[in-house]
């Protein structure tokens, strides 16, 4: 019965793809109830905010609705809350944190008619797809901008935990910087906490006290680092959504994510019955990662170079991790002409040359 309903949906929606102009009532029986669960509360900025925007855009496009489950700590409580959402009719679940993996996977196994998208995981099932963003494409461009603005050549990053996703972003930042200034150095403070605004601010202060004048706020969901940098006169940028309003003069830019095209395509696939579990690692070429809100202080020639590089990343002719790629310990990771494979990027546990802080083991 469910399949027939889905077929009906797909035919009516295929006929009117993008018929968002229709009054909502006309699509009332076609709605796809979606649920989005996130570990942090939804604010005007940050990770949860971008996920919700993506989910809402997808719901709008396919005529569905989103129920938002925010501020749910990872663990048994989250499993129960996801269960409840599905029991109440949600047929498309977006689990917005790595720690939801086991609970969300159980739901996918128990309810074959539910499709699940899971952030930054590795498990795949027929109706369960992990997704992540290729932030490093954007942080490479930010590194170029940072090096063109830095007076000291010393750049820094306040980073949450030394896991591959964050290490990759820092490495690309350093590579981008050294593409512009071969002597640029990047210091990293690992705060070893996903969430401690006070510690994040102190970390930024520590970097600035050592002459660092551009800071990458890596995986902080609050404007802790950005607002401190504005106060202290250092340039700063962050991931996911723009925090320009917190640093009107010193905001370097944002490596943003726009999940709407991906969520919409997946929601549509669910309705069409063509949803397939697969690992999605999305970048500029998919319209998911973008850079915006560039600081007007960036010199015009540097900006031109950044734009060219951006175009080459988007069309696939250039990867930030192209050879020759040298590790911080001096060994060669990729030879001239080669490219670091996706598997190697996903498992990255070493710093590139130019990152001066030792990596926690």
């Amino acid at each position: 019965m469910n399949t027939s309903r889905r077929r009906f949906l797909s035919s009516s929606l295929a006929a009117g793809a993008g018929l968002s102009l229709l009054p909502r009532g006309a699509l009332a029986q076609d709605t796809l109830p979606m649920a989005l669960i996130t570990p942090s509360p939804v604010a005007d900025v940050g990770w949860s905010h971008t996920l919700l925007q993506g989910a809402q855009a997808a719901a709008e496009a396919v005529g569905g609705s989103v129920s938002m489950l925010e501020n749910i700590p990872e663990g048994p409580d989250a499993d129960r809350i996801m269960q409840k959402a599905v029991a109440e009719g949600a047929r498309f679940l977006i689990a917005g944190s790595f720690g939801y993996q086991n609970g969300a996977l159980q739901i996918a196994r128990r309810y074959p008619d539910v499709s699940v998208l899971h952030a930054s995981g590795y498990e795949v099932a027929p109706n369960f797809s992990p997704f992540a963003a290729r932030y490093f494409q954007g942080t490479y461009l930010m590194g170029m901008a940072a090096a063109s603005l830095s007076k000291t050549g010393k750049l820094g990053s306040v980073s949450a935990f030394a896991i591959p996703e964050l290490i990759t972003s820092v490495n690309a930042f350093a590579l981008g910087a050294r593409a512009v200034n071969p002597d640029a150095e990047v210091s990293v403070v690992w705060v070893n906490s996903w969430f401690d605004p006070a510690k994040e601010q102190e970390a930024a202060r520590a970097l600035i006290s050592q002459g660092i004048d551009v800071i990458f706020s890596n995986a902080q969901d609050t404007p802790s680092v950005i607002s401190l940098c504005e106060e202290q006169g250092a340039y700063a940028f962050n991931l996911n959504s723009s925090m320009k309003s917190y640093a009107p003069s010193k905001y370097l830019g944002v490596v943003g994510t726009d999940w709407s095209p991906f969520f919409t395509a997946q929601a549509q696939a669910h309705l069409d019955g063509s949803f397939q579990g697969a690992s999605h690692w999305l970048g500029m070429e998919d319209g998911v990662v973008f850079v915006a809100d560039w600081n007007p202080d960036i010199p015009a020639d540097a900006k031109t170079r950044i734009d060219e590089t951006q175009a080459r990343i988007a069309d696939g002719s250039f990867s930030p991790f192209a050879g020759p790629l040298i590790r911080a310990d001096g060994s060669q990771a990729v030879a001239e002409g080669g490219n670091l494979a996706d598997d190697a990027i996903l498992a990255m546990d070493w710093h590139v040359q130019g990152v001066v802080t030792p990596l926690p083991q």
Binding site: N71, V191, N192, F195, D196, A198, E202, P223, P358
Partner: protein, 303 residues
């Protein structure tokens, strides 16, 4: 600026939220009541104080609101454990969790917003010194917290009020026998403790880290409680512990920036380890330890 200058300049501000909350808890525990709800009290006060500043009410009002919020929450706890003689551990945890929830609720529409903190006040001449100059550039709350530490030390050690509070915590029955009303005194001590936790929370969200984010107290209430215990209920040691913890948490970050070849997880655990070891060592004399600890801590009192 050298790494040392960075640590010296930031230590007192990093220590202040811990110190304020710990001093309040110290007085409450000296009277014989253990309040484990500190983290929640701080969070609730932090949320309300932030809202006041964000809405243009100014820092003075924000601190007043924070103090009152902390006090009201502490009085609810006091009612449960003193009047209804509930278990102090369970009631403290319950009030703490309740207040954490309330803070999230109150701060909901203010999530991730920022405000401006307070300016630094300088000690003339001293603040111009190289390296240690930063030590003498602090906001007014830090200066007041230092004065407050001294005041509480004098109050507990050298005044009649302090003697009565300690007597009530030491042997409530004897205190009752010589005419001191145990329950009202404990109410007052808890109210004071709540007030201080509220001020600590207000400082955290409106001066130290001038932004609101749910969960931003990030365990500082628990550290304050630990400082009181490891400081063996003595004002000076609690102060030392708070400063040590503040300094080490900054040293951890500075060490990473200058490239110390130690794993950052080890560095991150240093403030906890070193503070415990140092306070443990200076309090290791068992006889004096027993002399200093509060005999009736955690026990309900019945007339």
């Amino acid at each position: 600026m050298s790494a040392l200058a960075f640590i010296l300049a930031g230590t007192l501000a990093a220590a202040t939220p811990l110190l304020l909350a710990a001093l309040g808890e110290l007085v409450a525990e000296r009277s014989g009541v253990l309040n484990l709800g500190l983290e929640g009290l701080m969070a609730l006060a932090a949320a309300l104080a932030f809202i006041v500043v964000y809405q243009g009410g100014g820092h003075a009002l924000a601190f007043a609101v924070g103090a009152v919020a902390g006090m009201v929450a502490a009085l609810v706890f006091a009612g449960a454990v003193l009047t209804f003689r509930a278990n102090q551990v369970a009631a403290g945890l319950a009030i703490g969790i309740l207040c954490l929830g309330l803070s999230a609720l109150a701060g909901r529409s203010f999530e991730s917003l920022t405000i401006t903190g307070l300016p630094k006040l300088e000690v003339p001449l001293l603040s111009d010194l190289p390296t240690i100059g930063g030590l003498f550039r602090q906001d007014i709350v830090v200066w007041l917290a230092l004065l407050g530490t001294l005041a509480i030390h004098v109050m507990l050690r050298h005044t009649k009020v302090g003697l009565i509070v300690r007597a009530v915590g030491e042997n409530p029955r004897a205190a009752q026998a010589i005419g001191h009303p145990v329950i009202p005194i404990r109410y007052a001590a808890l109210a004071f403790g709540g007030c201080m936790a509220g001020v600590a929370g207000a400082y955290a969200s409106t001066v130290y880290t001038p932004l609101w984010a749910d969960g931003m107290i990030a365990g500082r209430g628990w550290i304050a409680i630990a400082l009181v215990v490891f400081g063996t209920w003595q004002t000076g040691r609690v102060f030392l512990g708070a400063c040590l913890f503040g300094a080490l948490s900054l040293a951890e970050l500075a060490a990473q920036v200058v490239g110390v070849q130690l794993p950052s997880q080890l560095l991150a655990s240093m403030p906890y380890l070193v503070t415990i070891v140092v306070l443990g060592l200076i309090s290791s004399n068992r006889r004096r330890m027993r002399l200093n600890s509060v005999a009736s801590l955690g026990e309900p009192f019945e007339k």
